[in-house]
């Protein structure tokens, strides 16, 4: 018998998809039975009370969680998010229900024994409920009490070689795609760069001094599996400078039906035989492909790296060999409004250890944003407020045609004195010779 009746939550289970309500009920039962004889360090009925307070929120149409707090582990200003409920008498199990963000391993590679260790720790000192993974990318451990925080932190850092992630006005846990570890499209080693910058910027990750959150995300190619272009203040997207490599024989094999398009992703659907004109050439956003006899041609300088042709015919078309990444800045994805995509700042840079050129850009941006950013202002908002031109100035990047989003939207060109021959000074006597007062 459940501790709280939950008719509204029960209704959520009736849909066709797996339900988090069912998962929570299952976890509540596991804790109640405690077949493994765990010495629970937080209330055994925490999950029952969580279901109860969620039911109450649905009934009341309002949240019963209070926002934020002073919880944390010593010396860290992030990684723990204080959550307290405003109905502690009715739901004592969730009076404290803090979230811990744990930095996910690069590209989320796990070993099963690590996952077991993590779950054992969380069953023992937390609610046992996890979110694998949060939209931040982190491992999210949901629900523990204040006295458990240091204990969990000790265990994570000393016995599991693990660290807390970012929250608050910090650099957030950097997130990367699977990259070269398993993907042939990766134009740079996302895992290496993500790890390098995570280590390099430990202070920014754990000790908040930014105006607001700041996110790095790393996509190995323009397919953008971590969607960095839409949600990271700085996104690092793999690209190449030379030509797409074409294997004409393989192109013919696709046309002849020998190779299935899209790596056989559409297997089982009856979409008829592969039609290269309809499915590849006509869909090229810049119209830069055509057939000449049985040869596929690409005008590479027109290519915008949309990846469509490569995705459809991966055995025939491959990314170029002169590889690196583009840096885009200013994306954000707030829930309510103000979502913004990233703007291209660095068209191409090689991604090679020790990544000095990349770090120079990062630090120039931080210096500017920390000084000029208003409280709770994201980089993308500062860019809008002070202008892209200012961003180019603080990063010392020369404007190029790549920076033009669309031509002729602004009739004004602003010049600085050093850009104008002779500067602003004029010889007043010379001037008066030609202009009366």
């Amino acid at each position: 018998m459940a501790k709280h009746a939950t008719p509204l939550l029960d209704q959520l289970e009736s849909g066709p998809w797996p339900s988090f309500v069912s998962d929570m009920k299952q976890q509540a039962e596991v804790r109640a039975k405690n077949a493994e004889n765990i010495e629970f360090q937080i209330p055994q009925d925490v999950v029952e009370d969580l279901l109860g307070i969620l039911e109450l929120s649905f009934a009341d149409g309002t949240t019963h969680w209070k926002h934020g707090g002073i919880v944390g582990v010593f010396g860290y200003g992030g990684g723990v998010i204080g959550r307290y409920c405003d109905q502690p008498d009715n739901f004592p199990g969730v009076a404290h229900f803090h979230t811990m963000r744990v930095a996910q391993p690069g590209a989320k590679f796990y070993k099963t024994d690590y996952l077991r260790q993590l779950c054992d720790l969380w069953d023992f000192r937390g609610s046992g409920i996890t979110n694998m993974h949060g939209s931040t990318g982190d491992i999210i451990l949901l629900g523990t009490t204040t006295p458990q925080l240091e204990e969990i932190f000790y265990e994570l850092t000393h016995n599991m070689n693990q660290d807390l992630g970012g929250s608050g006005s910090n650099l957030r846990t950097p997130a990367d795609c699977i990259g070269m570890a398993r993907c042939e499209y990766a134009c740079y080693d996302t895992n290496a760069l993500c790890y390098h910058l995570t280590q390099e910027y430990q202070d920014e990750l754990h000790r908040p001094a930014f105006p607001y959150k700041f996110k790095f995300k790393f996509d190995g190619c323009p397919n953008g599996c971590v969607a960095s272009i839409a949600r990271a203040d700085m996104s690092f997207i793999g690209t190449w400078k030379d030509n797409i490599k074409i294997d004409q024989e393989a192109v013919q094999a696709y046309i002849g039906g020998e190779f299935a398009p899209n790596a056989n992703d559409h297997n089982g659907r009856d979409w008829g035989p592969f039609d290269i004109q309809k499915e590849v050439i006509d869909l090229c956003p810049t119209d830069c492909m055509w057939m000449e006899g049985n040869q596929l041609k690409i005008e590479d300088k027109e290519c915008t790296r949309c990846m469509h042709c490569i995705n459809v015919m991966p055995r025939a078309l491959k990314i170029g060999d002169d590889r690196g990444l583009s840096i885009l800045v200013g994306a954000k994805a707030p829930i309510l409004d103000g979502a913004q995509m990233g703007s291209l700042l660095v068209p191409f840079v090689k991604a090679e250890d020790p990544y000095d050129e990349i770090k120079e850009v990062i630090e120039a941006i931080w210096d500017w944003w920390m000084e000029e950013g208003k409280n709770r202002e994201r980089l993308g908002e500062l860019m809008k407020r002070q202008g892209f031109q200012k961003l180019l100035k603080v990063t010392g990047i020369e404007p190029t045609a790549h920076h033009v989003q669309e031509p002729r939207t602004n009739p004004y060109i602003f010049w600085n004195e050093d850009e104008v021959e002779g500067g602003w000074d004029r010889d007043i006597d010379e001037y008066r010779k030609h202009h009366q007062r």
Partner: protein, 79 residues
């Protein structure tokens, strides 16, 4: 500004304002010290380490305050 001088300035200012405000943004602290953010951060880190200041976080935004000041500590049974 040296550490001790910064500590006095921050504690004095935050105490003076404590009746109306208990949490402060990092920029407020940098302004009190009259320092660039990067340099100010070093001192603020040390002040937290020494227990003069404590972090407060909403989850999305972080702020700083004097320990025990404000409603939060009492309301959350942590004082």
């Amino acid at each position: 500004m040296e550490y001790e001088e910064a500590k006095t300035a921050i504690v004095e200012t935050l105490t003076k304002k404590s009746k109306s405000k208990s949490k402060f943004y990092f920029n407020d602290l940098a302004k009190i010290m009259g320092m660039k953010p990067r340099l100010a951060k070093k001192i603020v880190n040390q002040l937290v380490q020494d227990g003069v200041l404590e972090y407060w976080s909403s989850g999305s935004t972080s702020m700083y305050g004097l320990p025990g000041v404000g409603k939060q500590a009492a309301a959350e049974h942590e004082d």
